[in-house]
């Protein structure tokens, strides 16, 4: 069943109204800071409502309780959502703590316990891959899962994990076979908060985000073999497939934020007068606007095209890396120039621009740094040549 352009327009409309009339007023009323993780009960409230309206888990399959939208449809909603300013973005559309296609690998028991309540917004998770000693090099994980009779014992630490402080259960990537390492030696475990030996370590204060990221500490944490997601040794394979969709979603988020930056900058350039005329009359400012708009258009085009390729089940490893690389760097340029166009006013918190600038900084780092994307793109080029 394909969605028509009108359906998507209507959905974007509802999304905009929901954000404007419910979510943002809720945020104002509770006096929330845009940088700080909101109280858990408010986040749950927004998630439940967003799920009822069909936004949360919009692109999860219907059988799992999701909205069944194609990625190419979901990214349009992401772009719309991020053109509004709200700290609840991930509770509206779902983020690292929300429904994840990795969990489609759940078995029957895991599905009831984790996947379905997660899709309904009742519980949250986290994607725990990075460690103090292993970031870009996921093959270098140290967190060990030692096999005993019928159970596994986890030892090690994860850090800078989004939603670690709040999650109800964690997707923990652990080494089950040191000799194999990245090639079949890493397994994903679903571990409940409250399991003895599993605790939240430091909660990080991070550029643009406070209280969202944290450490997970495992000390002789024993979990049953039934907590393995999919099969032993297939952890990275699960993650690497899903990460392509996530990279495309980062592109959509970057586009949505850039729309906001461009709209604010254009309006300001027309309004602000210096030397007796609007600053937008100067070519120096016009060129900035033109470049922002052109790059935004490029990213919107890339995102929708690659998302459509993903929907057709094509191999998008190279293209998803390109989207992530270009979009994450583009939105950082746009944030820089938006503040430049606004002058000192742009540095004031009330314009919301410095907030965007801080929040998008991480876009060139998470889900693979820009350097790692370039390596991936180039490797595929060379491989394609060799093939």
């Amino acid at each position: 069943m394909t969605t028509t352009a009108y359906d998507i327009e209507a959905s974007k409309d509802t999304l905009g109204r929901f954000l404007r009339d419910e979510v943002i007023p809720l945020e104002k009323e509770a006096g929330l800071s845009p940088d700080v993780a909101p109280p858990a009960e408010l986040r749950r409230k927004v998630r439940r409502r967003a799920h009822a309206l069909g936004f949360y888990a919009a692109d999860m399959p219907r059988e799992a309780g999701g909205g069944g939208l194609a990625l190419s449809e979901r990214v349009l909603l992401d772009m719309e959502a991020l053109s509004h300013e709200t700290v609840f973005f991930e509770d509206v559309m779902g983020g690292p703590g929300g429904p994840s296609s990795i969990l489609l690998a759940c078995d029957e028991r895991q599905r009831e316990k984790y996947l379905l309540p997660l899709v309904r917004g009742e519980i949250t998770t986290c994607f725990a891959l990075s460690e103090p000693e292993a970031g870009s090099d996921a093959g270098g994980l140290r967190l060990r899962a030692r096999r005993t009779n019928g159970t596994y014992v986890l030892n090690g630490t994860k850090n800078i994990i989004t939603n670690a402080p709040q999650c109800d259960f964690a997707m923990v990537f652990a080494v089950t076979d040191e000799a194999r390492g990245a090639m079949g030696g890493i397994t994903c475990f679903l571990v409940d908060k409250g399991t003895p030996g599993f605790s939240v370590g430091r909660v990080h204060t991070c550029m643009g985000f406070t209280g969202f990221q944290g450490e997970l500490v495992f000390e002789e944490c024993e979990v049953p073999a039934a907590s393995i997601l999919g099969q032993e040794g297939y952890g990275l394979a699960l993650a690497l497939d899903w990460i392509n969709a996530n990279r495309i979603k980062i592109g959509a988020a970057a586009a949505g934020l850039s729309r906001r930056l461009l709209a604010a900058s254009t309006a300001y350039a027309a309004r602000r007068r210096q030397f007796g005329r609007p600053i937008g009359d100067n070519q120096g400012i016009q060129w900035k606007l033109a470049d922002m708009a052109t790059e935004l258009f490029a990213v919107e085009s890339m995102v929708t095209r690659v998302a459509a390729m993903w929907d057709r089940k094509l191999d998008v490893r190279k293209e998803a890396a390109m989207v992530k690389l270009y979009a994450s760097e583009m939105v950082n340029r746009a944030a820089y120039e938006a503040i430049q166009i606004h002058g000192g006013t742009g540095c004031l918190l009330e314009t919301g621009l410095e907030r965007v600038a801080r929040m998008v900084r991480v876009y060139t780092i998470v889900e693979g740094t820009s350097e790692i994307q370039r390596i991936g793109i180039a490797r595929r080029l060379l491989k394609e040549l060799a093939a």
Partner: protein, 251 residues
Amino acid sequence: MKILATVKRVPDPETSIKVKPDGSGIVADNIKWVVNPFDEIAVEESLRIKEKVAGSEVVLVSVGAKVAQEQLRTGLAMGADRAILVVAEDGLEPLAVARVLVKVIESEQPDLVVMGKQSIDDDSNAVGQMAAELLGWPQATFASKLELAGDQKTATVTREVDGGLETLSFPLPGIVTTDLRLNEPRYASLPGIMKARKKELKEIEVGALGVDVAPKARLVKMEPPPKRQAGKKVASVEELVHLLHTEAKVI
């Protein structure tokens, strides 16, 4: 119970409206179109009745250009069961619309018709009243509350009138027009939008209804309202009072 709710396609009240240079109308390109907000309230009220009275059906009707399908789809996505679009040229006069509605009402035979008290484009505030008169049905306009008797044979409506509230009770079928405070309309949810695609949307050519829709008035000219002057800050109450006397001449 069968409830008929009207839906008109109007420019989004949030968009800025520009008058065509020749004054013949508004610039229709590039503006966003929505369901008339009072009609949205009418759809919501109908849906609330449907949720209370088992076996009810909500039928939407719009009179206008083919594109009004979009607004009917929105109403279907909110939860209405089916829709009828009487395809006619936009801008029919209230009496013409009322006559068309009467035809639809005669063939559908609803127990209750809920309409917006006015559409926010032309602000005529006339169609509901005219349709009730043509049908010889009771009417209650500007409803801020609507209650049905247990047997659904009578309706009790609280109306917002100058200086207070008026409560009317009348036998059904009848026509109710909605005021702003009647309810807060729900959004068309994503699942609702997907379901709406499979619902019936019937089109009828206005010509097939055999009613006189010829205009009785001629639009002479549209003009934008005068541009508002920029505001002024005053330093003291004395200065304010002085300026209200001498400049604004309002006191």
